[in-house]
């Protein structure tokens, strides 16, 4: 049911401030509902006099439900909360369902950071995140928020974080956000550097995931990232990639990504340029023709000395 203010006793003292749309020919003018126009008029009126009160809290909530991208209404709400001393837990309780309604909104997350940071506790946040990811397991804001929590509350070395990430990968091995989060914990938590020992462990983990679905790019990207962080050469993966692709047996290729890496490995070897070219040709003509231009470009680079693809 729409909510109006002009007939509400509690707002009788406020003269709404209507929107001035600057003359006869505004651009991108929207057919506002009466409800929205009126609420915005009251919002401008209370903002103009810096009123911080319970009724303001209700009004900001009303505006947010219709226009969550209104950037200053969130700041105004945050000010109001601190001015009237609203318990931060109450704000989080309100934010949970609101966030579920506006999953792709930036401002909500900024607000949540502010509140949780002030609360100084991540209690309940893992459950909240899980409920968000149930609706959209690759939601960018949710994963970014999870990273912020890990950093803010130093959860890098908590085994639960890696276990949870593993469970997310288990439930969808193609979820690139989950793989990225794993990288954040494993490599990001160590300032980008990785021991060979830990790298080996991660390589083993990723290889198992690739064997499950060899045409899934996420773990291939991940494993290359791990190699780089541990300063290991791509050729470390030569035997493994050969499980999925062999340029001598072009009919038996199980992963275009394996061919791609193999091409790089061959390009760096002495006297294997021909094999590299063969791998790229297979990609261009047979296994990944949608990127034919790219594979041909890579092939062209093989003839240029000292330029690694």
């Amino acid at each position: 049911m729409p909510k109006f203010y002009h007939d509400d006793e509690a707002w009788a003292d406020i003269a709404p401030l209507p929107q001035d749309d600057g003359g006869l020919h505004p651009l991108a003018a929207i057919s506002y509902s009466d409800e929205y126009s009126e609420a915005m008029g009251y919002l401008r009126a209370v903002m103009a006099k810096n009123e911080y009160s319970d009724r303001v809290l209700g009004l900001t909530e009303h505006i947010i439900s219709m226009n969550p991208a209104h950037y200053t209404v969130w700041l105004y709400r945050a000010n109001t909360i601190s001015e009237i001393g609203r318990p931060l837990q109450d704000e989080i309780a309100w934010l949970n369902p609101t966030a579920l309604k506006h999953m792709k909104n930036y401002q909500i997350w900024h607000h949540r950071h502010t509140i949780i940071d002030a609360l100084g506790s991540a209690d309940g946040e893992a459950e909240f995140i899980s409920s968000m990811l149930e609706k959209d397991s690759k939601n960018y804001h949710v994963w970014s928020y999870r990273q912020w929590l890990v950093k803010r509350f130093d959860l890098f070395d908590k085994p639960e974080e890696l276990e949870w990430t593993h469970s997310m990968i288990e439930s969808d091995v193609r979820n690139n956000s989950a793989w990225n989060h794993r990288y954040y914990i494993v490599v990001g938590g160590r300032e980008g550097k990785l021991s060979v020992e830990l790298a080996k462990q991660e390589i083993g983990y990723t290889q198992a995931a690739i064997r499950k679905a060899p045409q899934n790019q996420s773990p291939w990207n991940y494993i290359l990232g791990i190699l780089r962080a541990a300063e290991l050469p791509k050729s470390t993966l030569k035997d493994f990639t050969c499980e999925f692709a062999d340029v001598q047996r072009p009919e038996e290729v199980y992963s275009s990504h394996a061919l791609d890496i193999l091409a790089d490995i061959y390009a760096e070897e002495e006297n294997s340029k021909e094999n590299a070219a063969k791998a790229l040709e297979l990609l261009a003509t047979k296994y990944d023709p949608i990127r034919a231009n790219y594979w041909n470009y890579r092939k062209g680079l093989l003839d240029q000395p000292n330029i690694a693809a």
């Binding site: 505004p26 209104h70 790219y294 470009y297």
Partner: protein, 446 residues
């Protein structure tokens, strides 16, 4: 060279004109209310789309054009910079105590300046000096830019490359490529910004919101466009190294990530893998969609799926682009992925024809405009970005565009010809002055 079907995929020029004229002349439907605070973005898209379609002059009388210009200026805040909508304006009640709720806004300023340029205004009424002073305050110590400035000097908004893109574009619009202080106004910290962009590079070659976040087409495009505005993209091998910090740090890896955005996974159902083993059909192979396993992995279902197919590559005629690894194609990501390729000088490593065909055959809508995915109704955002991609591919009947600035080359030339800007950027000399003035006069008459 072009397949026969090239002829059947057509940009329905008249419908697009109709769609954008309707957006210009009538109120946007109520569901745009959630975009109310982005009205300046919608404003730019509307006038720039008509400019790209070559219809802007016909669509507007001189008086209407002036009224639109005046509307944009009505969003300029007294301290300099623009609000992105009239919604936060207190009018006569605006004062020192409440102006914090009506701040200048980075996207608002970016889209307002471009809207003025597209409408061929001379930006003489823009508080240019104040904007440049404010830009410096909008940068955080680690290099990123925010959305608005609090009264306590705190920079509100995300730390990602979107605001950096718009801030560096504002700087380019108002002072070109000049580095260092300009007419007494200090410059932003360009080196620190480049450092910040590099810190958000991911292990797979894409760029993300923040260090160690997931690579994302939108952030990758914004970051690379910002580096272009700052003249900080990597030098080509033929150029002399200059010890200046540049980004991105590993161009081959970034190119690899960008071309990986081409996908045949065109809707959510394509993403389903019924047997959970990737074997049932080529449809289930994300980002290598035509990948056909010839060996023992092929399942019964896989065989039956490919039976009766005219050609194993026939579906390659339509290729979409996604914004992240293992996501479905979406009209706007054709923009976010192709623009950085163009800025890096390597648009040739994607095949433009199937992308064009996908946009025209799959997401172009009967009523004009483009939807997000096949079958979606058009919205201003996807309609504009889809049109920009088609235009940047050189579609006959469309104006040439500068896709990173979201305007036509003609509009950009207009900006570059303005006398105040030529003076600042050192482009001014007596010889050219006459030509410039003549060009400006012509625009006024247009």
């Amino acid at each position: 060279m072009a397949p026969a079907s090239f002829e059947t995929s057509r940009l329905n020029h008249a419908r697009h004109v109709k769609y954008w004229r309707r957006n210009l002349k009538t109120l946007l439907p109520q569901y745009y209310t959630s975009n109310d605070s982005n009205r300046m973005l919608l404003a730019l898209f509307t006038v720039s789309a008509l400019d790209i379609l070559g219809d802007l002059d016909a669509a507007l009388s001189a008086e209407e054009r002036q009224d639109h210009i005046d509307w944009v200026y009505s969003c300029q805040v007294p301290e300099g910079g623009f609000r992105p909508w009239p919604g936060s304006d207190f009018g006569k009640l605006r004062n020192q105590e409440n102006k914090k709720w009506d701040p200048a806004h980075i996207p608002g300023t970016f889209f307002a300046l471009l809207t003025l340029v597209v409408l061929r205004d001379d930006l003489q009424k823009v508080k240019r000096r104040e904007i440049l002073e404010w830009l410096v305050k909008m940068q955080r110590p680690e290099g990123s830019f925010g959305e608005t400035l609090g009264s306590d000097g705190f920079v509100h908004g995300g730390h990602d490359s979107r605001f950096g893109y718009m801030a560096t574009a504002i700087r380019w619009i108002l002072r070109g490529n000049l580095e260092g202080s300009c007419e007494g106004v200090p410059d932003i910290d360009v080196d620190q910004f480049v450092t910040c962009v590099r810190a958000a590079e991911c292990y797979d070659g894409g760029i993300s919101e923040a260090p160690f976040s997931e690579a994302h087409g939108g952030f990758t495009c914004c970051a690379i466009a910002a580096l272009a505005f700052l003249d900080r993209l990597p030098l080509s091998p033929s150029q002399k190294p200059d010890r200046v910090i540049r980004g991105v740090s590993d161009v081959p890896k970034t190119l690899h990530w960008l071309v990986s955005r081409q996908t045949l996974t065109l809707d959510e159902d394509d993403g389903l893998d019924t047997y959970n083993d990737e074997t049932d059909s080529s449809e289930t192979c994300h980002d290598a969609h035509t990948f056909v396993k010839m060996g023992a992995y092929q399942s019964v279902q896989g065989n039956s799926n490919s039976k009766g197919r005219p050609h194993i590559h026939y579906e390659l005629e339509w290729v979409g682009m996604n914004g992240r690894c293992n996501k479905v194609a979406d009209t706007c990501y054709a923009y976010w992925s192709c623009v950085p390729l163009q800025l890096l000088g390597r648009l040739d490593i994607v095949d433009r024809q199937p992308i064009r065909k996908w946009l025209l055959d799959k997401t172009q809508h009967m009523v004009g405009g483009f939807g997000k995915v096949t079958g979606d109704p058009p919205d201003l955002y996807h309609s504009f970005l889809g049109l920009l991609v088609i235009a940047m591919f050189g579609e006959p009947g469309l104006e040439g565009v500068d896709p990173a600035l979201c305007i036509t080359n003609k509009a950009k030339k207009h900006l570059e010809s303005l006398s105040w800007r030529r003076r600042l950027t050192g482009m001014d000399d007596a010889q050219d002055e006459g030509i410039t003035l003549a060009a400006e006069r012509m625009h006024i008459q247009a």
